[in-house]
């Protein structure tokens, strides 16, 4: 086994509904601190709300979309919101806004919108795939 492992993170729990984005961020920081690599963060199901640029919690609460995007940008980590999950829940980039003739877009940088193929690729290329679900 190599000393350095590559991780794919899959987040399916929404911020403020579940602790999943918070737990995932703590683990992500620990993974990098231990010298490992994060290949990609994949948002699926309710987890796509983490990619909203419009979330505006009170100023004395953590802003999980902002904290995550800052972390991803700082460490140049690829982050993808599943297109089917995102469109259902109103997370839209300018391209999908134009395609569906929507009033606005709200995808927070550096998140991108792509298909489940990115998740399949993570399964094949990463040494570990970690799931952060919300409680049912």
């Amino acid at each position: 086994m190599p000393d350095t492992l590559g991780y794919t993170f899959v987040i399916t729990g929404a911020p403020w509904t579940t602790q999943a984005p918070q737990s995932a961020l703590s683990v992500a920081r620990a993974v990098l601190a231990a010298g490992h690599r994060i290949d990609r963060v994949f948002l699926y199901g309710e987890g796509v709300h983490l990619a909203s640029s419009l979330a505006s919690p009170p100023s004395d609460e953590h802003n999980w979309p902002h904290l995550w995007s800052a972390f991803l940008t700082e460490h140049e980590i690829s982050a993808v919101a599943c297109i089917a999950s995102a469109l259902r829940r109103g997370i839209v980039d300018p391209k999908e806004q134009a395609r569906y003739e929507l009033e606005s877009s709200n995808l927070r940088s550096p998140f991108e919108i792509a298909g489940l193929g990115e998740w399949v690729e993570g399964n094949l290329k990463s040494d570990r795939v970690l799931y952060f679900h919300g409680a049912n």
Binding site: T12, G13, Y44, G45, E46, G47, A84, S85, R88, G115, L116, G117, W119, V120, N123, L124, V129, Y131, H133, G134, N136
Partner: protein, 116 residues
Amino acid sequence: MSTLIIIDQSPYGSWAGREALDMTFSLAAFDQPAALLFVGPGVHWLCQGQNADNLGQKSVEKNLSAASMFGVEDILADAGSCARYNLAIEHLISGTTLVESIRDTIAGYNQVVFAG
């Protein structure tokens, strides 16, 4: 790399199961071996004769019937869960295989993914 997707919630109450099904179909579409295991209340996904019209949803039975066409290798149901809900194999959609041991089933795959 073989993957077992486990669905442990009834259909229709949440989209998590449908999205887990999409994950399964996606693996199969990329020629990755994938199978589904239904446990606990999740075995209700497999009931024949579902009518979801009154709910305003699409029947998951139709989605599941397409699984083999998409290349999903197995549709498995935990025998103990089926017994608890009084579901015999003839009540379940065709192609379902009952498994006696969840532990042994899981051991046969490289990775296991739970519906969120």
